[in-house]
Symmetry: C2
Subunit: 237 residues, 2 copies
């Protein structure tokens, strides 16, 4: 669902009941977008294949040409929203200078905030929806999500203060940090804009959760900001 994929120069096939717009996305992407919006705003189980098709302007059965039904669509949406983050984790752990260990977590948080802030239709919410979590396709993605949480846990564990270490167990830490970053999806739900100032605030919150003193947070922020350009995709204005 690359956000800007337009109608590919593909063979058109039989015309739709509701004609396609000239500047529409590729048919597959149209379906993904419609489904994403409905899944996030009405729920996965509450959305029928007919709902999706109607939103696109095609017949109920037509999406089956492109996808293996609702589960197939969900699988692709989950894939699209978890893979990019996961791919960056490794590069981040390598790129961060050993003398500013806090920068790694700060950078990961910044990048994830950016991803959650720009993914279409606030798709980051999918992972928290009970009907999604109890679906069969979700099971495939659970390992990937756990790996991401584990990465937060590792980077956090590297820098926790002794006071925090005494209070919060290390297998909780990753989850706590992920949750802090997911504040982005809640801001978007409320219709809020997620500015880069807010992104930095959320990243700083992650360091505070680990008990990093403010002076080091400032230093980490500067380092992470410097590294950010290497990782960030271009963000649409």
């Amino acid at each position: 669902m690359s956000q800007y994929a337009l109608a590919t120069a593909t063979r058109p096939g039989r015309p739709r009941v509701v004609p396609r717009l000239a500047n529409a996305r590729a048919p597959r992407d149209e379906i993904l977008h419609a489904a994403a919006e409905l899944f996030v705003n009405r729920g996965f189980a509450a959305t029928s294949t007919r709902d999706i098709a109607e939103k696109v302007g095609i017949r109920q059965a037509s999406p089956y040409y492109h996808f293996a039904g609702k589960p197939g669509i969900l699988a692709e949406l989950l894939e699209l929203s978890v893979r990019p983050s996961l791919e960056k984790v490794e590069r981040i752990e390598l790129a961060c200078p050993a003398d500013v260990p806090e920068a790694a977590l700060d950078l990961l948080a910044l990048i994830d905030v950016e991803a959650l802030a720009t993914v279409p239709h606030n798709l980051g919410k999918l992972y928290r929806m009970p009907d999604v979590r109890s679906s069969e396709v979700f099971a495939e993605f659970q390992p990937a999500l756990q790996e991401l949480t584990a990465a937060y846990g590792r980077l956090g564990a590297d820098i926790v203060s002794s006071t925090v270490a005494a209070t919060v167990s290390m297998d909780q830490l990753g989850g706590l940090l992920v949750q802090a970053v997911e504040a982005v999806t809640r801001i978007r739900s409320r219709g809020g804009e997620v500015t880069s100032v807010q992104g930095r605030a959320i990243a700083a919150t992650c360091l505070r959760i680990c008990g990093v003193p403010e002076a080091r947070i400032v230093r980490a922020t500067v380092t992470a900001d410097g590294l950010l350009l290497r990782f960030a995709e271009e963000r649409p204005a």
Copy 2:
């Protein structure tokens, strides 16, 4: 769904296929509990009337004797989890001494945390589920929820620092505070215990969100703790 309602001395009716336990709750409550667990953990739309009945040990059609179907059950669960909080709001606003204005918000947060921490099956999650929010019955409860958010907004607005007032608009403030309190449902989702220490931490977070300086937070905490006994139900050990 009073958590301890046992089998009332009611006439039993035709026996179930799966016999009832001697110490079971009243039939109505059995259904509410089963539904609550399924709605929260699998989703509202993803749960069928058959799922609910099976969990109780009765036939698919039997719940209809007690409720107007799934929407009727949902309505009752929403009612049960919003009314108590709402009833307390007014009393709180009256009970708080004018010389410690921060105590009111602190107390409201403390009481709500307690409610969210003890409600069966983490029911507080219902309000955030898209299939619930787009259901027809939810519309009835939206005003009540908005009133609760508005109460947070009022109590917050009374005490915001000028710095915070400059950053966050007053109609966002209530939502921000509610969200801070709802951290409880996320802790419970992760299987965490919500201790009274955590409750106080969340209440203090609410004051920090409003920009209240630490010294005043300490004072508010003491005042609110003193008032808490008048409001809190007995909490099961």
